[in-house]
Amino acid sequence: MYQIKESNSELVTQHYLGMTYENRPMYYLKISQPSNKAKKIIWMDCGIHAREWISPAFCQWFVKEILQNYKTDPKIKSFLQNLDIYILPVLNIDGYIYSWTTERLWRKSRSAHINGTCFGTDLNRNFNGSWGSIGVSHNCSSLIFCGTGPESEPETKAVARFIEKRKSDVLCFLTIHSYGQYILTPYGYKTDLASNHQDLVRQRNTLHVSVEAAEKAAVALKEKHGTNFTVGPTSLILYKNSGSSRDWAHMIGIPFSYTFELRDKGAYGFILPPDQIQPTCEETTAAVMTIIEYVNQKHFPNSAVAVTSGSLWLGLSVLFTWTLS
């Protein structure tokens, strides 16, 4: 992260988010085109579950893609005019390190419970979104232990405080996991839609927009290497769960909130063969870019038009010059 920050300091800055349980500093990267304009925010975090190694790999790849192409790719240039991208490459640093040094299939954080006889909270059950209600365990020995209370873990608190403070500017919340090949929309904690008609219509419209973006992303992803991703609400296509970061983000008002479950579908699972790392990163980049472009066009419709009308004028003036000669 230090190297990236140093060699691209006009675009990328590194910022402190908080401390992990084992006192490691959490840093995020802010990708921001300097300008006078007030920007909206895209948030992406990787590595909330320790064993899902393809996830932090993807966040790194994605940063590299932006940095290699932001000067030449018109789509990136366009959205960077309006959006800042915040990337947290590893949310669960303690767990991730533990999976490298000690137990490859570790999932949770490394917080100590019951006098140090039991370790780890499932950080993706620890957010304040219908916390503790379904698809969790209140027992530390479980891999879906939701913690002693909502945001009981320092890692959760660090992310939640940060997003909460900026929630009116955060348009999109992406959290990257493996495996399963899904793009999951809210909610995990419930299946029912709103109960009154007004809310139902509003919710249907929001959810419709949300699903449409995800479906476009799945199409773009498939175009890269033919990989099929399934799109839909978590509770229907994966399983019911509560306290997830995706649910919480949407509940505090962030319109586009998705969980990505990357390759594969279970043949190798968490331990993906190395020859699949790059193709997975390439296809996932295409999907995430599609979502960012969608959000950009939805929220800043004029900028998209400006790009096309610019090239239209250029085309017309070239034609005009040519006809004159």
Partner: protein, 275 residues
Amino acid sequence: MQRRSAARLGPLLLLLLLPLAWGEGPSPPRADGELQVSNRLAGQAARVALHYLNYRTGSPSALRALGQVRKATVKTIPGIGHKYYLQFTTEDYKSSQNVGTCLATVLYLKRKPRPAVNINCTYTKDQKQTREDDYSFYKKMRQQTKPITGNDIPDSYGNIEPALEPAWALAVAGSSYLMWEKSTENLGYFMAQVKNVKQWITKDDSIDFDYSVVLHEIPTQEMISCHLRVIWTPGHPLKVKYFCLSENQRSESGEGSGTESGSTNGIFNEEEANF
């Protein structure tokens, strides 16, 4: 579960207790009929059918994984359980290439044992090739004077030594028996890793392995450690013995020899309308 208000306490109490009878996990489908193809219960049932197929086929070179569910319906059979009718595509386990489609029924019984499966599939991979690949692995193992051993397959970085790859595939086939037995309507499994493999040199025609495997359980996310003993002769049913220990020290064991009921070569007595 639908709950109707009752005038008397007795029947009401009985109705309230019904959900408990279904055992662990979230509620089963509320209504009979067609399911969305992306519904987790459909995928879950299709995977159970494939565990059974992989076990019964008993061919490390011909393992199949779920592609996409094309159609899924569910029927409640009162007093017995839930029956799923499925159409799905399959992929080669290792390469993810499409290798054919299946029709299957999966009956989850209220009272165990295992889900009852009938499955019939097309297979587009070159069967002569898979038979040759199986036989070449078998021959190599038969020729071992020193038993092969291995640890952590794949290793943490996803690497599988080419020499150990067929033994890993045989572990998947053997684990399929165990995963079929353990699966319920709500609990599903994948084989995450072979922790250890050790060959037993045999005096007969079979090849024989001891495995320690780790299964990934959904939706609990638990990693279940199991011991497997797999005895195999190509073209014959797999013989599998297993012993598992889970986090809460519940132990389970079982034995399979290819004689269990179920079928892989036809769907008899099923009305086409059910699919």
